[in-house]
């Protein structure tokens, strides 16, 4: 067991190394959301948004931190895992005594570690540059929200990696899902009084719940520690509201568990693109899929 834990730590560090040596992934995960914060604070000025009762940065820093965490787990994990499978790296690992769960734990652990860095970086810049306020009372609930959210998006990333044919389509699939959902999840814009369908749409997906559970922890006008089932939204009339993460956590966990179950069910270690769709010379059958002979060509 101690040996397995050491192997997990080693695999996490191994994946981290690969991440840092792929500058494009590091840029999109760490720098890109930061650019949005700077941009929004410049466009709107860092004044108080009246309806929300907080400053622009106080709203955007946690929302964009969540977005960074989602791309570190969902986008990066799906893309790097699918590409590693295309390159035969997963198959090679499968031929070693390293238990598959340790390899996956290494990938997930590394993705969550990068998400921690993305969130820390975003919040630090917010605090140091834009006077974002950190609230001790809600900090534990914020941490719990982050852990559940990051784990959920990691599971979704592995689910996407399991379902797509090859790594080339991974960035398209992840961006085409994450970005539109981000627009209805209060990441880039806080929609006041949205049409019902937009509200429902946002509430179906886990990102809005991640943003709410984590972001509300940074709203000085909300009361409570967050450890409650449902709260109330901040009202500009009364100047109060209550912070609660229970329902948000439940929705995220439901997505995460479903994604994890399906990912386990459909995960493949064999590259499909290289071996599939090979026309058999003997003419008896045309076989596609991952279960076919791979004699050299």
């Amino acid at each position: 067991m101690a040996r397995d834990l050491r192997l997990v730590v080693q695999q996490i560090r191994y994946q981290n190394k690969i991440f840092w040596r792929t500058p494009i992934a590091a840029f999109f995960t760490l720098v890109f959301p930061l650019m949005f914060l700077v941009l929004f604070a410049s466009i709107f000025g860092n004044d108080e948004i009246e309806e929300l009762g907080i400053t622009v940065a106080q709203f955007y820093a946690p929302a964009l931190a969540v977005f960074g965490a989602a791309s570190a787990t969902y986008t990066n994990l799906a893309t790097s895992t699918a590409i590693a499978r295309d390159e035969g790296i997963l198959k090679r690992v499968r031929g070693t005594p390293l238990p598959p769960w340790i390899y996956i734990a290494g990938r997930v652990g590394s993705a969550i570690w990068i998400a921690v860095l993305a969130v820390t970086l975003m919040m630090s810049v917010g605090i140091l540059v834009y006077n974002v306020e950190l609230i001790g009372r809600t900090f534990p609930a914020a941490v719990v929200s982050f852990v559940v959210g990051a784990a959920t998006f990691a599971a979704l990333g592995l689910f996407v990696a399991a379902m797509i044919k090859n790594g080339d389509s991974a960035p398209a699939v992840t961006n085409a899902t994450l970005l539109p959902i981000a627009f209805v999840s209060d990441v880039f814009i806080a929609i006041e009084d949205p049409p019902v369908w937009l509200d429902v749409l946002g509430n179906i997906f886990p990102l809005k719940h991640f943003v709410a559970a984590f972001g509300d922890a940074f709203h000085p006008g909300l009361s409570g520690s967050g450890f409650a089932w449902t709260g109330t939204e901040f009202s500009e009339v009364t100047g109060t509201g209550e912070y609660a993460i229970g329902l948000h956590i439940a929705v995220m966990a439901a997505w995460g568990i479903a994604a994890a179950v399906l990912a386990v069910r459909y995960f493949r270690w064999d590259p499909r693109g290289m071996e599939g769709r090979v026309k058999r010379r003997r003419g008896e059958a045309t076989v596609s899929g991952n279960d076919i002979e791979s004699d050299g060509v």
Partner: protein, 301 residues
Amino acid sequence: MAAITVRGLTKHYGSLRAVDGIDLTIEEGEVFALLGPNGAGKSTTVEIMEGHRDRTGGDVDVLGFDPASGGRAFRERIGIVLQQTALERELKVEEAIHTYAAMYPRSRDVDEVIEIVGLTGKRSSRIKTLSGGQQRRLELALGIVGDPDLIFLDEPTTGFDPSARRQAWSLIDNLRSLGKTILLTTHYMDEAQNLADRVAVIARGRIVAEGSPESIGGRSDGAARIRFRLPTGVDAALVPGEPIVDPESGSVLLSTPEPTRLLHELTGWALERGIELEGLAVTRPSLEDVYLQLTGDDDDG
């Protein structure tokens, strides 16, 4: 003791019988080569033994394990060198070997492995900067770093230049002298001839011949061929035995199960007449001849 025992192995994909009843026994410490054209069932067979693929039927015992369910304990004792290079390009050579070494309970010394495969000068280089041959040598290093008892080498020298091939061969020879069992697949006849204690030829999902490289397919019992050219003006019909004249090259061919005797008669005949037999050669069918004959028109090379 047998390292690998395979009985009645089959693998079907729908109506396609990729592996159609294979029996194999590979002894401990043996270097065994599996030859066969593309699509013959060679890689499928090896991947079933490696635990990468399920089988349709038959019994497979590898080092006392069923590869389909052997799990971690089984994989700790085998080393797999895949056909394609499959490595994280951004890692350094020594990082990759260290990471793989940690997966095994009794791994070899990393420095020693780097030296064995001849990558000492490249140990701190990123994998993406290695040449194709160097990447294959790194694959080899990862296959042996766990000090396995059984090593699967899938076309280990494909794409190597001649000197890199010689190096790889001497490395495989080293592994043999350590008592490792090696199962290699290859397209190269000379590779099988140089390395293997025994060879099996696989075609259409079945083993069509098995034996030492010297004797396989009746090579050692088959007729030897004597070939030479006669000076102009000498009638080939006068040559002892049953000479055949190759109309293209003008060479005379003799085929015989007793080359010593016939050669003696032939040279005696020539010496009596003061004739020099130009380009005189005695040959046996090469492993390649046997292979091509056994696999027939299946091989599209």
